[in-house]
Symmetry: D2
Subunit: 320 residues, 4 copies
């Protein structure tokens, strides 16, 4: 970390799950504002978010969902329980894997495979087919799984790793493209302290986490209706246990649109009135820049007109 | 009608379906502000409402629903199609009927029965049991049905009338208490030009008429959900044909609560956004003065709190 | 009425609201099976239905809905309270009206107008515009209104009647085409004793009357969902007071489709489970012969397949 | 494993995630039928289920949900994609953890912690508070995490393990009761080949996995309504990515009740008609033996009565 000089603007700090070479680092490389700033490699998502809360970093890049393995539970739970955070951007990183081993290893000798659990899940079909009796040795990161083979600290026979690993380490390639889905992608979010949401772009997403009022039949229905009755599509709905008892969940939701949209603001107020605990995580541009489509009857002007109509009838003006 | 002197306040005029002795007159007698004012007897509901629209009257009392016969279609349709009106009060009149005839008539001789259609419907079970082969001669009002027997303008054998008729006319009582339901009641509303709604009392009712966007399965569902999802009970829901084709309806709705209630204002805006045509008829005290009960989660403060919450999160303030 | 001979098949009897010349008679004329049978003119809908219940008639033709005035309340209420009946056919009669008077009458002299209430409602806009200060003298039928002028039993100045009246009676035509809607039509149903429904034609309608379990917000919603969640469109939904108290309704429903359709049978069972009182009035061909359209996912084979699937999984068979 | 003699019944084989000492083994110990049978320790959930499919085992015990960490994704995904399986029982194992290390280690020296990912998630709050800068080295099982410290194959400084580990291995106890929730519990299911469901007990659960027809607003709503409109409570609802694209999910559902209950059979057929792909995983006794409560209106006799009613009205019998 170079010292900061008075005549230079202070550099910003970004925390991410390291080491260099992880998919998280690739996500951070997509952030123009992060170029030439300080990148702080940390070892778990809690540490990354704590950096932001405590002011050690300006923002943290964390993996939040994978197209094959689903929501990243630890990230979702950390966001749900650490106050003062806001998602400000979303990034997608294509995911591809190779199986590597120490030089001289043959694939038929492989029994114990080191892999980060998310990577493991994404290659599970291939593994069950190719190496049906393998065992899994979870690793802390995709890079660590492979490096451990060389360091001798791991007794795994092979490791699942990103293809780029071969450029930096003396490893034997046993198989490539072993991911179960060639379109697999991991979704990352950039998290800052609580700030006003960035301006709407027309291609935005709103994230929130809400608890249900109680366990009666239909409570989840009522939560979802807050969105469907305003023409809002949900791109993500995940349950996560609140943790105090089996059967008690909070729901992680990504909704199409921005809190500056009338229909979204109205839906969020509906959720707030309904839910005993709701956390707004942010409105931010979608990584895919896809414009949000919605029925015309839910456009801003329809909401504005209805408000004007209500105001007029309360005041006793004759209806137009 | 006494002349107005300069030093007296101008008297107000109230239109009602006459002549003297009708249930409508009894409803008007319940209005304290109408005492010692000008009562204008008219001959149909359209005339009564036109009096108000054109300024000949300050208000009109009209029958809107009967506990046995249901909504009064002509009144509902007139309200739906005459702009510039507002319901400002509701009144209930208990309904009871007698069967009367010219002196000397015996009940076994009765074949043709004069009756206002609403009165007829309310005595139908008794008639089908007692005089199964009778025919019905509709009359213009409950009073006219009986008076016609004496005037000789009607060839009816008997008439259905309010009990008080016997005090004013020389008629024979053939049967009393012939209404099918001893708790029968007719509901009247007092209609003025468009004004600001009277202040909420906690025991209020809101009336509106709304059309559905189109004939797809579920459009009515969506209309009703605007109320149920805000904890609002409906005390009346009636379909009336729009009139341009079979199967096209507008809906006459009475909802518990006042437009000054946050949940009702929110529901009305929801209806406005949804419906191609909605007419707000007014918020006014219920005749039965029954306090409106609703789940605590729909109280005003919950709506206010949700608005404050939304405002804070848009501005980027940390959540409390 | 000719005597029946032993070597001829017994003739059937049809009751209808007479006298000859009513729209009801025109509806009955549309029934091929009624040709050359006995037509029994009665004086009210209760009498017509009682004829069927008591075996005096094989069927009764009754008006059930008008495109301008809505449901015919007395007919709906009679069907709701007289057990043992079934609708077996539906017929449409275009409705058109003239204003007639005794010869020599001028329209500017008309003050009191005789009219059947349904006819009156269908000409109300024209009357309010042309004769704003008229009074209404309800008549027992469209024919009776006009005939009363000649008989001298009515003190009305003019009558609303079907155009054909001029062919049979010496009346002056004051105005023609006075109905408010040139496409106005009245819907009639043919009612027999309880029988198995006629075979489905693909263009069928199912009628029922259901009460709601209690007055909680959303009970009507739940009733309607029984249809919408099976892709069934409702062509009629009317509330009628049960009659025991204000605010208590039963609902008259016409649904597109036949009880022999899987989705309709399923919906009816759903209504039966939900409603404290439901009356099936029949499945019968629609008057307009319009084929019922519905989403493919609600077709019979989808229901059959689901039943087979359930049976297999209960028996422990491996899934296909 | 003792040899099988001809005069003895063949012993059954149960697969479970080993080695001895895991929570999965504790779950299997709760199965009376598994006593004195063959227990087959395997190394991943795919292998356990493949044992059942291929006939190497009669049943497999697998962890399916944890009260703190939520659904076990790999187990859910394996059940979703491997046909021919059925859940036949559910078991709960209380979860408690200790932090152990090689003798002589002090807690302030701990930097790298070996732990199975589910165990890690359950101790995360404690770790973030006590050892905020730790790194996580995922392990294949709770037992393996601890054993690796002694074997020297792991370079972790400490391991999270079940308390019983101290009885079998020479390890130093650094901290006990480190789980974030003292009521934490893991839910296991016993999986066999497809068989008829065990008889209902009144305290049953039904598991299924369903995909949504498409990504329109409200598709999930419609799925959930299949249960709520039959009075069925859901104790689990989890989304899992189908894996072909971001935003495409299948839903893992546990519903209160048994497929032999009329309401559940009806709901399952509703789901089958709605969903492009639904997998019934079984109906089986709940681990907590809690009797399922539901509104009386959804009881079996109500369904039976509705079917009888429908049958009668189709046949043309008069209504009772």
């Amino acid at each position: 970390m170079t010292p900061e000089h008075d005549d230079q603007p202070a550099r910003r700090t970004y925390s991410y799950l390291g080491p260099a070479g992880t998919f998280t680092e690739a996500a951070l490389a997509q952030v123009p504002e992060a170029r030439d700033q300080i990148w702080r490699s940390v070892r778990n998502v809690g540490e990354a978010l704590a950096d932001v809360v405590d002011g050690r970093s300006d923002a943290a890049m964390i993996a939040i969902e994978n197209s094959v393995d689903g929501g990243v539970s630890t990230a979702q739970d950390a966001l749900a329980t650490m106050p003062g955070l806001r998602i400000v951007g979303e990034y997608l990183v294509p995911v591809n894997f190779v199986l590597v081993a120490r030089p001289g290893t043959r694939i038929e000798d492989v029994s114990l495979i080191a892999a980060h659990p998310v990577a493991y899940a994404q290659c599970l079909q291939w593994l069950l087919k190719t190496l049906p009796e393998h065992a899994h040795l979870p690793a802390a990161s995709n890079v660590a799984a492979a490096v451990g083979l060389i360091d001798g600290v791991s007794d795994a026979d092979a490791a699942i790793a990103p293809p780029g690993i071969l450029e930096h380490h003396d490893l034997e390639l046993l198989a490539s493209d072993i991911g179960d889905n060639e379109h697999a992608v991991t979704r990352f979010v950039l998290v800052s302290r609580t700030v006003a949401p960035p301006s709407p772009t027309g291609a935005d997403k709103t994230s929130l986490i809400a608890e249900l009022p109680d366990d009666h039949p239909g409570a989840l229905l009522e939560l979802l209706e807050q969105f469907s009755t305003r023409g809002i599509n949900l791109s993500l709905i995940e349950s996560r246990p609140i943790g105090d008892a089996l059967g008690r969940y909070r729901f992680v939701i990504d909704a199409d649109g921005h809190v500056a949209d009338e229909r979204m603001a109205d839906a969020l107020m509906g959720v707030r009135r309904f839910s005993p605990k709701v956390l707004f995580l942010g409105s931010y541009p979608r990584a895919d820049r896809a414009i949000v489509r919605y029925p015309q009857r839910y456009s801003d002007d329809v909401f504005v007109e209805a408000r004007d109509w209500l105001r007029a009838l309360i005041s006793g003006e004759p209806e137009a």
